[in-house]
Every structure is written in structure tokens, then in C-alpha cells.
């Protein structure tokens, strides 16, 4: 194991954190939507992909990455809310599989739609000038853009936490996740809350898409691999648990990038090993409550 210096190790852990941060955003959105609506959003990866493309388009039109970072989540959240209102809502109460199947079909259409508009080939996405290069953190140089990704995700998580734990809207969200019937009895329009939650979840997925774009470029297929990662993370962390999504997301990111260093041939399989282990020891996930999903 020569050639593996502490610097290299630290760099790899850090790369894993940046990777994990994007996974966390996806898993948080997925988890939020599931926790409230009990909808497994199979189109989550497609919304991620859509976010990256809208971001690309917005960055080209306005010439600013920062504008893209704001426009893409808002635009995709609007699309998401339209989908919830007109496609998913008619399926509530028809069994848990139907919204899942619908979002699967929706993702199918979104991927093909993007292929029609932007072409089949992947496109490059330029890292904004301000964030190019590396930053010295005292013991090693780290790519500035990855630092920025970690920062944005951390900030967003704090905002989300405050929204859910400290506002009256958050109180309704938490109560609605527990027992939507009682919340409705108390005179609150739950369907409006669900609409907003679906918008927030898909908007966060779009933000993840824009953040990931400079790291990997954009392509119509970028959503499907990421969807599987997001599923693994929600299973590991526990469905409906935000803390679980954060911990499991970072864990999967770091383990994957460390595996690249030590056992490259097993890197892609590493997260499935984690998932299998969690399923064997704690089927409800690290932070999930037993019986919640019965």
C-alpha cells in the first residue's frame, strides 16, 4: 500500500463528502416526498436530470451560473407541482404501487423529451470562473468547486431543518407525516401541503442536478444511475428520516470514493454491500422506525 499518503486519503475522503453531499440532496427530497405523500418518486432521477438541463439552458441564456442555480430549482419545482396536481393526485387511495408506476412512466417520457430537445449526446457544463482551481485547507489542496458543493448542501440542510422544525408550516408537515387524517380533521388543507412538499422535493433534486453538472456534465441518462443511489441511501438511512438520509448519503459517498482507492473493482458494488448489511441487521434502516412502512 505504498503511494497512499495521508494527504491522498484526506483528499479521497473529501471527494467522497462532495459526492455524498449531492446524494444527500437527492435522498432528502425522496425521503421528504415519501414521508408526507407515501409516494416513491421513480421520477426523482429524471427531475435531477431535468434540473441539470434547465440549469445549462439558463446559464447559457443569462451567462451566469448563479442565475442557473436559482432558476433551475424553481422551474423544476413548478413542473413537479404540475405533475403532482394533475397526474399523481388522482391516484391517492388507489394503493401504494400506482403513484410509483406513474412516476416511472413519467421519467420515461421526461428522458425522451430531453433527448428530443437537447439531443442524445451528453453536454459539458462549465465550472463557474470564481470556483475554478483549488483552495488550500492547511494540509492539502482541494478543488474549490467541491468545497462549494459541500457548503451549499450544508446551508440548504440548515434551512430545511429550520423550515421543518421551527415554522408552523413545518409543524403541519411533521404532523401530516404522522397522521394525515387527524391533520385534515383539524381543518388544514393537506392536499395543498402535499403539493408544496412535492415541489420542494423535486426542486431540491433539480438543485442537486445543477450542482452535479460541472462535476460530470449533463446527459439524458444521468438520472437513472443516481436514482438507484438515492434508493440505496433511503433504504440504508431509513425511509422518511432526514437525519438518516444525511448520514447514509455521506457514508455511501465516502465509502465509494475510498473503495476507488483501495479496491477499485469493488467501488461500484460497495454501496450495495452496505445496503445488504443494513438489511440483514436492521431492515428498517439506520434511523427508520420499525413498522412505519407496514
Amino acid at each position: 500500500m505504498d503511494g497512499i499518503t495521508p494527504q491522498l486519503l484526506a483528499l479521497q475522503v473529501f471527494t467522497g463528502l462532495a459526492l455524498g453531499a449531492i446524494y444527500v440532496l437527492l435522498a432528502v427530497g425522496l425521503s421528504l416526498i415519501f414521508g408526507m405523500l407515501t409516494v416513491v418518486n421513480f421520477a426523482h432521477g429524471a427531475f435531477f436530470m431535468l434540473g441539470a438541463y434547465v440549469g445549462l439552458f439558463a446559464a447559457e441564456q443569462t451567462g451566469s451560473f448563479w442565475a442557473a442555480l436559482v432558476i433551475a430549482p424553481l422551474a423544476v419545482a413548478a413542473v413537479g407541482m404540475l405533475c403532482e396536481r394533475w397526474l399523481i393526485r388522482p391516484l391517492y387511495g388507489r394503493g401504494i404501487d400506482y403513484p410509483l408506476l406513474l412516476t416511472f412512466g413519467l421519467a420515461y417520457m421526461m428522458v425522451e423529451g430531453i433527448r428530443i430537445v437537447f439531443g442524445k449526446a451528453g453536454l459539458p457544463f462549465e465550472t463557474p470562473e470564481l470556483l475554478q482551481g483549488a483552495t488550500n485547507l492547511g494540509f492539502a489542496d482541494f478543488p474549490t468547486y467541491r468545497l462549494f458543493v459541500i457548503g451549499v448542501v450544508a446551508l440548504l440542510l440548515v434551512v430545511l431543518w429550520l423550515l421543518i422544525e421551527r415554522t408552523s408550516f413545518g409543524l403541519i408537515v411533521r404532523a401530516g407525516a404522522r397522521d394525515p387524517v387527524i391533520v385534515r380533521v383539524l381543518g388544514i388543507d393537506v392536499s395543498r401541503v402535499w403539493l408544496i412538499v412535492f415541489g420542494v422535493g423535486t426542486g431540491i433534486a433539480a438543485l442537486a442536478g445543477v450542482l452535479a453538472a460541472p462535476l460530470q456534465g449533463v446527459s439524458p441518462e444521468m438520472g437513472s444511475s443516481v436514482l438507484i443511489v438515492a434508493f440505496v441511501i433511503t433504504v440504508v438511512g431509513g425511509m422518511g428520516s432526514l437525519v438518516g438520509a444525511v448520514v447514509a448519503g455521506l457514508l455511501v459517498g465516502v465509502v465509494e470514493s475510498l473503495a476507488v482507492l483501495f479496491v477499485p473493482e469493488a467501488a461500484k458494488v460497495s454501496m450495495f454491500v452496505i445496503m445488504a448489511a443494513v438489511l440483514l441487521v436492521r431492515p428498517q434502516g439506520l434511523f427508520g422506525r420499525a413498522g412505519l412502512m407496514a
Partner: protein, 330 residues
């Protein structure tokens, strides 16, 4: 009850109205009769072969989704493992088809047992996610297997001649190949009919209708689900092995997420929980694909839209809706 047994004993006169009931009672024979003449109904034979193979794939999936009520998004793993096992045995070890295919089914069942033991531990909605993730794991494992050919897939799965009980088939002739596949499909449909008519067939439907009540009745839910998962994988592995022989190759995309999604679509379009529906779904999908791809390369958009419309308005699928109409009329 009395009149039902009486009518059975008297065997009703052959009228058009009695035909659906007759077909329903002899579903295996009806399916075999239909597929015996099927190639003449299709524009070309390889489409007929594809419909048989993808239909069989959907039949296997339907046992789990339609009859047991478990939605798996990982069935590409079984199609792929069946295809790769048969392909490697035939192409690289010179195995004869008559033992390569049963081994492929057995390996498919074993992989399903391992996946099932993990996936059944989760409840409800987790199942789709865990099966999807595990099938992706199978994808990466097969991809790295030296014998699988990785990105390029498996080539040279050649079975050119088949002789059985004095019957000689030349598989280079599409018509002969069709009847080779047809033989296996007929056998599989007979086995499926037997499974569905057995007490186990009742148990899986009980699990689908009301898991808590089935548990209270004393059924071992976990074992029932696991067995259904493994049996379902067996049908899919057979479809995979047949497809490997049909194509003389195994593309790596066989194991792809899209292939898992495809079978969900086939099953829902045709009619989940119906005996013959999966074939209707496969025929519908492949015909749309065949027709639409002639004038647009974006046929997936239309297939996706049709699927979304079916989920919203015809969740019973084409065949399921048709059956409901017929039953309603009677």
C-alpha cells in the same frame, strides 16, 4: 352451487356465449392453440419470436406482481442471469441446449433466492427499491466477470440444430426457431397453470388481497413470498436463456434497469394478474415499437405516454379490461 355442478356435468351446448368459459377452463390448451398459428398473424416471424420470449418474461414477472402483489424492479437480473448462464455454457463450454437451459433456470432461481432473502426482509414499498438496487449490483458483478465479455456482451451463442424424439429443427430457419421457443413456452404455461391451481396459488393471492388476514389464517407469509419470487425468477431465466439462443448473443443491456422497467410496462399494459395478459402486453408494446420506430426515433415518448394513461385510466390493462367486460356481460 347446485346449478354450477349440474351445468358442469351436462357440459353446456357449444354456443358463442359459452366460448369464454370454455377457453377459461382449458387455458393451457387455448394458449397453445393460439400460439401454434400465431406466426401467420404477425408481419414477420422474428417479431413473433420476440413476443413469445418477452411475453414469457412478463409471465414470470406477473406471477410475482400480478398474483402475489409484490412490485419488483429488479427482474432484469433473472432474465440476464438466465441468458448469461445459457450463453456461457453453450458458447464457451460447448454445452448442449437441453442441459444448458435447465441449468440457466436453476442459476436464475438461486440468484433470486439470495436476492429474495434480502428483499423480503423489507416491507411494502421498500421492495421495489431494494430489488432495483440488488439487480444493479448483479449488473456490476456480471459486467466484471471475465467470461461475460463486459461492455461488448456475450457473442457466439450458437445453437444451429436441435433434434429431439426424431424431430429435427434447423434454428437458422426462423419458423423452426419459433416452434423451438413455442415448445418451451407451452411447457411453461402448463407449469404456471398448475402453480396457480395449487393451494400455493391460492396462498399467493391471499397475500396479495390482504397480507394481515393471510397471516392470521396461518400462512407463512415470508416463505410464500420467497417461493413466489424464486418461481417467478425461474420463468424469467428461461425467457433469458431462450433469448440468448434466439439472438446468438447476450447484450449487457439485458441486465439494465430499463429491462426491469420494461417488464413492469408489459405486465401492466397487458393486464396484471391475468393468465394470458402478459403476452397481450408484450405484443402491444413490441408492435407499437415496431410501427412507431418506422416514423420516429422517439417512440419511447409515446410508449411512456401510453403507459401513464394506462396507469391513470386502465390499471387492469388491455386483457384485464376485456375480461372484465366479458364477465360483466354474462
Amino acid at each position: 352451487m347446485k346449478s354450477a355442478t349440474a351445468s358442469l356435468r351436462l357440459s353446456p351446448p357449444l354456443t358463442w356465449a359459452a366460448l369464454p368459459g370454455l377457453i377459461a377452463r382449458h387455458r393451457v390448451l387455448a394458449t397453445i392453440a393460439f400460439f401454434a398459428v400465431f406466426p401467420w398473424l404477425m408481419p414477420y416471424q422474428s417479431l413473433a419470436i420476440n413476443i413469445l420470449i418477452y411475453g414469457l418474461y412478463a409471465v414470470g414477472f406477473n406471477l410475482l406482481f400480478g398474483y402475489t402483489g409484490l412490485l419488483s424492479f429488479g427482474h432484469a437480473a433473472f432474465l440476464g442471469v438466465g441468458a448469461y448462464t445459457a450463453g456461457i455454457l453453450i458458447g464457451q463450454h460447448g454445452a448442449a441446449w437441453w442441459w444448458a437451459i435447465p441449468v440457466a433456470i436453476a442459476v436464475g432461481c438461486l440468484v433470486a433466492l439470495a436476492m429474495g432473502l434480502l428483499a423480503i426482509r423489507t416491507r411494502g414499498i421498500y421492495f421495489a427499491m431494494v430489488t432495483l438496487a440488488l439487480s444493479q449490483c448483479v449488473y456490476f458483478l456480471v459486467y466484471q466477470l471475465p467470461a461475460s465479455g463486459g461492455e461488448n456482451g456475450l457473442r457466439g451463442v450458437n445453437v444451429s440444430e436441435v433434434s429431439l424424439f426424431g424431430l429435427h429443427l434447423n434454428l437458422l430457419d426462423p419458423m423452426h426457431k419459433y416452434y423451438f421457443v413455442f415448445g418451451f413456452v407451452a411447457l411453461a404455461m402448463a407449469v404456471l397453470s398448475r402453480i396457480l391451481a395449487s393451494p400455493f396459488g391460492g396462498a399467493i393471492e391471499a397475500v396479495r388481497e390482504n397480507e394481515a388476514r393471510a397471516r392470521a389464517c396461518g400462512f407463512d407469509i415470508e416463505r410464500t413470498k420467497l417461493l413466489s419470487f424464486v418461481l417467478s425468477a425461474g420463468f424469467c431465466a428461461l425467457a433469458g436463456a431462450l433469448n440468448a439462443i434466439h439472438l446468438s448473443s447476450v447484450p449487457i443491456e439485458t441486465l439494465d434497469y430499463a429491462t426491469s422497467g420494461l417488464v413492469v410496462m408489459l405486465c401492466l399494459l397487458g393486464g396484471m394478474g391475468t393468465y394470458f395478459g402478459p403476452f397481450v402486453g408484450a405484443a402491444l408494446f413490441l408492435l407499437i415499437q415496431d410501427l412507431a420506430s418506422a416514423w420516429t426515433e422517439h417512440w419511447q415518448l409515446y410508449v411512456g405516454a401510453v403507459f401513464v394513461l394506462f396507469v391513470l385510466f386502465f390499471p387492469k390493462g388491455v386483457w384485464g379490461t376485456l375480461l372484465e367486460r366479458i364477465r360483466h356481460d354474462r
